[in-house]
């Protein structure tokens, strides 16, 4: 019979890379991401008895990762109630100042992976994770809602705002790189 650590290694550890990528998306810095992943996996192991076998282990790990991150932010006293306001500002900015891209696919290929990840890292906390889970992990809106603890409708609007804001960030990079002018 397998020990709990053997079962955990077999079921959860294969998702280490995905969880690490999510951690990079959340906190941006590699060292901190590794720290976060370690903490999240320890917590996951401690709660492994509560994991329903046969369900989506990766989604379960993402949820633990997010909670671990929030605990850290609380601990650092930099969390709080700023997120809704941030999102509102971003939403307004997105509506007011969105640039038209004549050929999105061609333009976006000009950015390096680092620039794309950096731009994502500049978005508000929960937008980063929502966009990562939706676009990179391609989870369903329902799964993302469960992980992030919000309604499906919020996931839709959050993902859309996040993508608009990401586009704005990339537009400003593109302007700096001389790829586009300032036309709207």
């Amino acid at each position: 019979m397998k020990t709990s650590s053997e079962s955990f290694e077999e079921i959860a550890l294969p998702h280490l890379n995905a969880v690490y990528r999510a951690a990079v998306a959340i906190c941006g810095r590699q060292g901190e991401a590794e720290d976060l992943v370690q903490d999240a996996f320890i917590k996951a192991f401690e709660r492994f008895e509560l994991f329903e076998k046969g369900t989506n282990c990766k989604a379960w790990l993402f949820q633990i990762l997010r909670n671990t991150w929030i605990d850290r932010l609380r601990h650092q006293k930099i969390a709080g109630l700023t997120l809704p306001l941030d999102e509102e500002i971003v939403a307004r900015a997105s509506e007011d100042g969105e640039l038209k891209w004549s050929n999105a696919e061609d333009l976006i290929e000009n950015f390096s992976d680092e620039q794309i990840i950096k731009a994502l890292g500049e978005l508000p906390e929960d937008q980063r994770l929502t966009l990562f889970l939706t676009d990179v992990e391609q989870l369903s809106q329902k799964e993302v809602a469960k992980i992030t603890g919000v309604a499906v409708g919020t996931v839709k609007s959050r993902a859309s705002r996040a993508r608009s804001e990401l586009k704005n960030k990339l537009s400003s990079y593109a302007k700096q790189m001389g790829l586009i002018g300032g036309e709207k």
Partner: protein, 268 residues
Amino acid sequence: MNHLTNEQLEDVMQGGDADITHLNQCQDCRDSLAEKQAIAARLRSAFMSVKADAGLANRVRYQINQNNETTETAKSIQHTWTTRLHHKLWPALAAAAAIFIVLVPLSMYVLTPSTATAAQAELVMIHQQNLGSHREFYNDADPEKLAEYFKDKLGFTPAFPCTGQGMAIRGCCVAHFKGQIVGSYVVDTPKGVISIIVVTDTPRQMGMTHMPEKTGYEQSLWKSSYAQCNMVTVRLGDYSYCAIGEISKISHEYLRYLLSRLLPNIQQ
């Protein structure tokens, strides 16, 4: 004509229900959708290159096994207590459990072949914690203040690194090694961050192998590599000074160089 809302476009991206008729007729909505899809695809490809370091899996495995051993030990003790109490053997069992509690953690280091690995894994763990953003360091430009800090925390003052040549002490802290409090420095060097951990175990007890090279003061050195980290240790007096850095940045030779720079202070 009403365009699709952002939420409706999100549904389309997820392959859900949407007003396909409108989408077929409206170039603006098709452009918006194409743009969203391009961003999503590029984001996905950007993260394809992000991979966890091989050492991370090892560290997670190690921590899980440590946790597991603690849990299994606790469960075992609890089980023994509850079953044998019915036989009124609890005084004998209490003594046995006490011995068990003492012997199990000790056996990790004394009785099993994984002694060395466990010690080195703990050293690596301390180094990793030193690199983490949550480690709180004590730092002061005045070396006497640093000495006071260690004296207060450890009961003795270990030697301090000789800085310069692009090396600087980021800070000092205390950590736990084999359940005991030990001192640690973090040194920023031009090649990367190095932790120096001061322990009472000898290099041999920590499973390190003797190096043919010596320090400038003819002190013997021991080395090892574990979980993507290189380590070099020098034994001075009752203490081992173990320098650790990541394999990708810090060689054994560089660690030896750093420890040699420590020696003038150590010999004071």
